[in-house]
Amino acid sequence: MLPYLLVSGLTTGSLYALVAMGLVVVYKATTVVNFAHGELFMIGGFLAYTFHVLLKLGYVVSLVLAVAAALVLGLVTERLAYRPLMRAPAISVVLAAVGFSFVLKGAARQIWGGLGDYMPFPPVVATPAITLGGLILVPQQLVVLAGALICMGLFTAFFTSTRTGKMMQATAENAKAARLVGIRVDRVYAFTWGVGAATAAAAAVLMAPLTFVYPDVGSPLLVKAFAAAVLGGFGSLPGAVLGGFSIGLIENLAGGYINTSFTDISAFLVIMLVLIVRPTGFFGPRAVRRI
């Protein structure tokens, strides 16, 4: 039983990790949590479905198109829900993003909802299950795990090696100073939102064969990804990944060993305990009071 639970825990965990990374990327640069992130994931999935299944384009083409479209959508979100509200209290940005998420969800329901309750998505590799010493693995799970790890690697490389990545890091640390050295901060913000959305879409396309595509997939996922990010100490990409995997594992282990009705709530119970002991999550900065 344990090996199976571990494998599915890691698979679900990589989904949470991928989505959480997108949240953290935006937060690091703009100190705002994008509450439309779940719906950006959902739209990415539907777009990929439209390109790949309805229009019969190739898998990679659909992936690229969906991610590109999501990037644009991320830019739009930034323009509508963030830029006009840069000076407003945090809750206003949250609610504007939530409002946008309703628009996206309603639009998806109107456009694709009539097709049925959820759309299946064909897996990347159609090979049958692999047996690995008594453990049965569905290839798609490996694809997802690999995808998550590749994304993490790409992100790390991006932030540390490329010029744009360093600009984003600088803006996240101190926007005023970044402006002073000539960084176009507003462009960095816009690009960050685009990248966050693109990550969500990539996650959706990778995971669609396992999660399916339907208009309401965004909200529960956002809650879990948010929890994962906070657990990791919001603002740390490795933390988000660790948080995501933790939640996936906890859910599966609790469901398998205690009771399946505990699956959804176990992660939250653990988080509450962790936050009481370590109020800023795994890798969060030690609480610093700005006077």
């Binding site: 509508l80 509200l85 000076r87 809750i91 609610l95 409002g99 809650v223 929890a227 009071r289």
Partner: protein, 319 residues
């Protein structure tokens, strides 16, 4: 014109309309008005926590649910009458609100949001799974209220009106008192507040208790108006609606919350005309309100009419 739209006149007019509404309106309108009153109570309470004390907590919808469940369960499981169950439920909800305040003392910002979110999820989970007590996902029916010779809908409407009036008045007084000033101090700078000998723990606890109390009252009324209690009405979507009422009305403004609650309830009904497109319409309205009126609709009123000034500012903009 400024004088005409002054606070006294508007309140008098509103009060009059609300008082005689049952005689003018069909049962549907009366129901919507009653709902609006319940949400006014909820929003005003939440604003004390969110707008005045600056605590970004996601627990209010769950506390609303606890108020409703407690009122209903005390009647159904223990056979108590509504008039005993209701106050008891309000007390229970307030106490639970105090318990939720405990982590708030150590946490802030996102971490507080997450812990209160976890509390909300836990409450939903209990409502769904602790069937021996809560009847589970199917909910349960609550015996309909009787008000003696008065028809139930009418009696409940006037009860809601009286309670809303009392609680809004209570909030108005509280925020103008020392408590209100202390809460704003906590919101704007915890360090400065402590330097002024304001006990952070005490005032945060007060803020959480007030919002919990209001949520409990609103919850009890909600269970009565539906004669039915089920987990759906107390989830995260509910929380978003409540936040929207407070922000669209005006953070840090009692009258803003009254306005926001009334408007959003009316809006949700008016948007029915869009049928399947309601979600889109609601999202658009929310975005437009927040982007173009970041200080809430009450800021419009404050600018143009006399008598609406409130002694404490809304939260500062971010630098």
């Amino acid at each position: 014109m400024r004088a005409l739209a002054g606070r006294r006149n508007v309140l008098a007019l509103a009060g009059l309309v609300l008082l005689v509404l049952p005689a003018l309106a069909n049962p549907y309108i009366l129901y919507v008005a009653n709902m609006a009153l319940i949400y006014v109570i909820l929003a005003v309470g939440l604003n004390v926590l969110l707008g005045y004390a600056g605590q970004f907590a996601f627990a209010n919808a769950a506390l609303f649910g606890i108020g409703a469940y407690a009122t209903g369960l005390l009647q159904v499981r223990l056979g108590l009458s509504f008039w005993i169950a209701f106050p008891a439920a309000v007390v229970v909800t307030t106490l639970i609100g105090l318990v939720v305040a405990l982590p708030a003392l150590r946490l802030s910002g996102l971490y507080l949001a997450l812990v209160t979110l976890a509390f909300a999820q836990l409450t939903q989970w209990l409502m769904l799974n602790w069937e021996r007590v809560t009847f589970g996902a199917g909910g349960f029916k609550v015996p309909p209220l009787t008000f003696g010779p008065l028809p139930a809908a009418l009696g409940l409407y006037y009860l809601s009106l009286v309670l809303a009036g009392l609680l809004v008045g209570g909030a108005w007084n509280t925020v103008r008192s020392g408590i209100g000033r202390a809460l704003v101090a906590v919101r704007d700078s915890e360090v400065a507040a402590e330097a002024l000998a304001i006990d952070l723990a005490r005032y945060k606890a007060i803020a959480f208790s007030i919002s919990a109390l209001y949520a409990g009252v609103a919850g009890g009324l909600y269970s009565a108006i539906l004669s039915f209690v089920a987990p759906e009405g107390f989830d995260l979507f509910q929380m978003v609606v409540q936040f929207s009422m407070v922000v669209v009305g005006g953070l840090g403004s009692v009258w803003g919350s009254v306005l926001g609650a009334g408007l959003l309830v009316t809006l949700q009904e008016a948007l029915r005309a869009f049928k399947g497109g309601q979600e889109i319409a609601f999202g658009l309205v929310l975005m437009v309100c927040i982007v173009f009126l970041p200080d809430g609709i009450i800021s419009l009123v404050k600018r143009r009419a006399r008598g609406w000034e409130e002694p404490l500012r809304a939260p500062d903009r971010r630098a």
